[in-house]
């Protein structure tokens, strides 16, 4: 019964979140997409643009729906497979992810948007290699740690250093894009895997002590990062300038009240809030679905994370446990950071909300991760206890 519960809950919550995501992507992207179409027509043919009457467009919704179907297929495929195979592919996945991260940095191969090369073009779709890299890194780290015994893990040279070097490669490539936010998330996920995996607290603490000044340097060298930090510490200042986005985000969430303005009836998506369909979908949820809707989404994520942890604890083996913990950290942390940014508790930073924000790579990777999680969950019942008892 318990097995059904956890697996079923994770599956159901995921589908509900994807469903809410599609509804919100539709609601928030329709005006944005229409605006972009009007704008592009205007650029090519100013005369014609005056007669153009497009105020709603389903372009983003259609793309997101295609990714959702694809993601669902991948999720089912991984659910019916065997996660132990991932252990064999771990190295390859890591290498492929590295190659993609290098590719994206090459001009004309990587697509430049707002001064950052984060996307690769595939026909009319773009993919974001750093999203795939996150999952590949989780799988690789789980594999790396599970292949070592207790003493190796606790040793600096044999356990910690190789893992640290792989992580460093990923982080440097991602920071070069530049995408500091994703690098911080990646580092945090791996940090949690290491912590759970049994790496010495001394090592982890010293690493944390070293990374704080590194992060500080990374912020100081780019003016826009300093600006964002300043904006964060003085949130009520310059609400028409540097704090415009945050202020609009708070207006969106706050104006929703208890019940919200109703799905599709939000006002902030009409050129007030930038990126309403990607990084700030949660603000639109708050505005249109109110406190109740926002709390529901938060609770769904909370429940998902709890179930994920349960899978990790009850996993049949060390690899499965670490993998499940990594996956659930990946999803939970992204969601949590996204909530906090929208609510003004963290500096403004582009960060998608898993399952809900518009973004194909993110959706596909997160659904794939859930597939793996479901798979681990499926195996736990009939092996776990025997296994543990034998070892005991």
């Amino acid at each position: 019964m318990r097995k059904l519960n956890t697996t079923f809950l994770i599956f159901t919550i995921t589908l509900i979140l994807v469903g809410i995501g599609l509804a919100m992507v539709y609601s928030s992207s329709a005006p944005v997409s229409a605006y972009q179409i009007r704008r592009s027509v205007q650029m090519e043919n100013p005369q014609e643009a005056a007669q153009l009457n497009i105020y709603h467009d389903l372009g983003y919704l259609k793309k997101q729906a295609i990714w959702a179907v694809l993601g669902f297929a991948v999720m089912l495929f991984l659910y019916y497979g065997d996660y132990q195979k991932l252990k064999e592919y771990g190295n390859w996945l890591m290498l492929i992810a590295l190659v993609l991260l290098v590719l994206v940095l090459i001009p004309h191969v990587g697509v430049m948007v707002n001064g950052a090369r984060r996307w690769l073009r595939l026909g009319s779709f773009t993919i974001q290699p750093s999203e795939f890299a996150k999952l590949a890194l989780v799988i690789f780290m789980a594999k790396l740690l599970s292949e070592k015994d207790k003493y190796e893990i606790r040793s600096f040279l044999k356990g910690f250093l190789p893992a640290l070097m792989v992580l460093a490669m990923f982080l440097i490539l991602v920071i070069l894009e530049p995408d500091l936010g994703t690098a911080v998330i990646m580092g945090s996920i791996v940090f949690v895997i290491w912590y759970i995996g049994g790496v010495r607290v001394l090592h982890l603490a010293s690493l944390a002590a070293v990374s704080v000044p590194c992060l500080f340097v990374a912020i100081v060298i780019k003016q826009y990062r300093i600006d964002r930090l300043i904006a964060f510490f003085f949130q009520d200042k310059d609400i028409l300038g540097i704090n415009y986005q945050l202020n609009q985000s708070l207006i969106a969430v706050g104006s929703g009240g208890l019940f919200g303005k109703g799905l599709g009836r939000g006002l902030q998506k009409y050129q007030f809030l930038a990126e309403p369909h990607t990084d700030f979908t949660f603000a639109i949820i708050g505005e249109e679905l109110g406190f109740i809707g926002a709390t529901l989404v938060v609770l769904l994520f909370f429940l998902l994370v709890i179930q994920g942890i349960r899978v990790a604890i009850k996993a049949p083996d060390y690899f499965g446990g670490l993998l499940a913990a990594g996956i659930i950290t990946m999803i939970g942390l992204s969601a949590y950071i996204n909530f906090m940014i929208v609510l003004g508790c963290l500096p403004t930073k582009g960060m998608t909300l898993p399952f809900i924000s518009y973004g194909g790579s993110s959706l596909l990777v997160n659904m794939a991760a859930i597939g793996i999680l479901l798979n681990i969950s499926k195996y736990k019942e009939f092996v776990v206890y025997g296994n543990r008892q034998r070892d005991d």
Partner: protein
Amino acid sequence: MLKEKTKPSEYLFLHRRFKILILLLAASFVVLALRLFPITLIQGKYYRELSENNFLVPQRLEAPRGTIFDRNHLTIAVSRVTFSVYVSPFKLELQAIHETLTRLSALLNRDVISLEDRLGRLISKWQKVLLAKNLSLAEITPILEEQYNLPGLIVEESFKRYYPAGPATCHISGHLGMIPKSLVSQFLDQNYDPKDLVGIVNIERIYESSLHGRAGKEIVRRDARGRKRDAYVSHPPESGNNVFLTLDLKLQKYAYQQLQGRSGVIIAMDPSNGAILAMVSTPGFDPNDPGSFSEEGSCFLNKAIQEHYPPGSTFKMITCLAALRSGISPEKKFHCNGKFYLPQWNKPFTCFQTGGHGWVNIQEAIKYSCNIYFYQLADAVGAKRLVDCAFQLGLGSLTGVDLSGEVRGYLPLNLAAGLPPGEVILLGIGQGRIATTPLQILNAFCAFANGGRLWTPHLLDRIESPGGEVMIFTDPKYHEIHLSNSARSTILEGLVAAVNEEGGTAYKAGFLRDWKVAGKTGTAQRDLEATDAWFVGFAPYDDPKLAVLVLVEKGGHGGAVAAPLAKNIFGYYFTNWKENPQEDAPNVLSSSTAGKPQHAMAMNGEDF
């Protein structure tokens, strides 16, 4: 089935760490809830007010384009404020919108209630429907007075370009239009808006980057009824720079009047630096309304630089120069008996004076414009030297004037050696295989007048920032051409005689002797039916201050048609400028720049 390396102790370890993580997780979600709860439920009302009653609407602030002035600070092109009236539904009841529209119908004197339908179909409440545009301040004032009874009203300022001189400056100022399709990406790279109007031709186009202002942005706070409460200008608009031209607008208008009803060209230039004082081409069009051009398609053509003409007798000055350079004695005489036969050429070349001028020297030939003399002179000089001399004086190449669409003209540079003698002697009187623009001819005369400096004709005097700081000063270029003093004085004698001595081709026009005008008429054959009337001259010949070219298409005889017009131009110049010594050309700016900073005047002085 599992390859286990896991040690039991690690599992316990893992569990303990999991517990810490779960605690962290619970704490974080508590933090989240603590933040979400007050924003939505406690401050919800405040934010809802912000959202619903205080629309922060980013609005573009148009920047006025720079003004184009003439040398006396008279306006050639200026951006005038106009107003557009829109209505937006915001959060208004249908009844309120209906009332607004009814009132506006009365205020605007036109039916706008029919637009109610379009308002109803707007999806976003921010969209607006245009009711009226290009309203003047007088027309908008009654609406602004009523604005608090007109919920949903939006009034936007914009600028409309106005050319006070109308058709007189149409070929100088150019006009504005939508960004041409081929240039869209180029302009958008420079932060233009697709809706911006840009200079299409001439000064507006050439100095576009200076004239164009930078649009600003303001964020307007509107209340629930769509009324503007206050606005925060986040980026103030920056007006464009002002362009000062060397043009004298009064002279330009006067010249335009002279050509009214005819098709032709008048150019006035300062021979000492190539500054253009007037340049008129008729028929013109009204740049305030470029859509309404006359039936004649040629009204958009600036004939001074965009049309080819055979220069006719005005070219004889160059023939003379080529002859004197090639060593032919200034005393050399040729006989004119009215007809001239080339060997193996059965048709005679004729002089317009039946019976001929008899034995004439070079000065007399210029004075009477004797064709036979120049046939023989050209024959003696040869095509190569003639064409080379014309080329050096800038014929057949672009003058580089700062206007759009200048044409090159034509000189038989490569054919010179192989030209049949019949064509060579025709070249001697500026007919046949030669095509020039009027500006090229005038520029060549200027080079002759100032002693051998072929200047680049120019209209730009300087560009000033809106604050009066000089950004760019014109830096006219010239190149020296070989012109010996003796040759110059020999030819000048002929040019003076043509204007001031009885029997000279331009004598009957009645130039005052005091003006000391030297010039040459031309009656050029462009087709078999009619002749173009030309006059080119400069004055005073001992210290040239003004050079004028008049061309009347199909006007008839140069001396009878073009010279009197030129006389008027010279007369206007000398009566208007000589009376008031301060307004004389070199210091013309100082009287009107009295209020300007001292350094600007000093630099003006250097410029001239």
